[in-house]
């Protein structure tokens, strides 16, 4: 039997940072995500619509795409996706093609019942917010 979980509850320290994940957003990411998620809002896929109709600087990444990358970041740390019990965030900054986004997390609290609460967020290279006020809860053996 392959064990997916990389961590033990007792080994996790409050204040500990998890490995970051960096992704440079490409316009094709949004087209692929639109197909996979079913969200075909043209602000994500059609540069003409995004700029001329929605008055955005360019097409922007789906908020839920960024949130999925945040989930991946936590799962990369834990190993077992089934250990992720909760994920939340606020969608703040727009991400346009070429933007590099860094996904981060830090252990905030250890609860009874082997639950670990993390602050999670995403920011651009200049430190501006992409995902803010996020929380992840994981269960660890």
């Amino acid at each position: 039997m392959i064990e997916l979980c990389n961590l033990k509850y007792e080994d996790v320290q409050v204040g500990q940072e998890i490995p970051t994940f960096t992704h440079q957003f490409d316009r094709m990411d949004a087209i692929v995500y639109a197909g996979a998620s079913g969200d075909f809002n043209p602000i994500h896929t059609n540069p003409y619509f995004a700029k001329e109709v929605a008055m955005l600087p360019d097409v922007i990444a789906h908020g839920l795409f960024n949130m999925a990358l945040l989930g991946k970041t936590v799962m990369d740390w834990v190993g077992d996706p089934g250990c992720l019990k909760k994920l939340s965030c606020q969608f703040r900054g727009m991400v346009i093609p070429g933007d590099k986004v860094i996904f981060k997390g830090r252990v905030r609290e250890k609860l009874e019942g082997n639950l670990v609460v993390l602050d999670v967020w995403a920011e651009k290279e200049d430190g501006s917010d992409v995902l803010k006020g996020g929380e992840a809860v994981v269960w660890l053996p």
Binding site: G38, A68, L69, G71, K72, P81, K85, C89, F91
Partner: protein, 148 residues
Amino acid sequence: MIDHKWIGKTYGPIKYEVGREKMREYAAAAKDGRPIFHDEEFAKQTKYGDIIAMPNFAAVYALRGAGMMLLDPEIKLNLAMLVHGAQEFEWFTVVKPNDVITETGKVADIYEKGNLDFIVYEGEAKNQNGELVCRSRATFIIRGGGTQ
């Protein structure tokens, strides 16, 4: 301003049949190539016995009622000014190929802050065994006023 009388309005039940390739497609679109999302032979050697969906796949199976709320012809939200403000998912069990998910949801809240209108959707997704799979809460913001 969005009429507060819509608080409590329900959507669903909405059925979603989970397809193996759709699960893989979602994980790949989210840049997640870990074998438990893609490789059955690998998955058979784990406690899951088959591939599982990326938890964030809930964006597909647990927010369909939110889509109905946004397009609700009675509420008439001003979609041109709408942004997704915040999202919360809580998971209770994993999703596997051929699961049949049933989602029910409601308008959980409507409120204002300055010239921003907020409308909140809360949904619950259960699988074919009646087990709770995911709870979702989505907050949408309408800039400069709520309805058309």
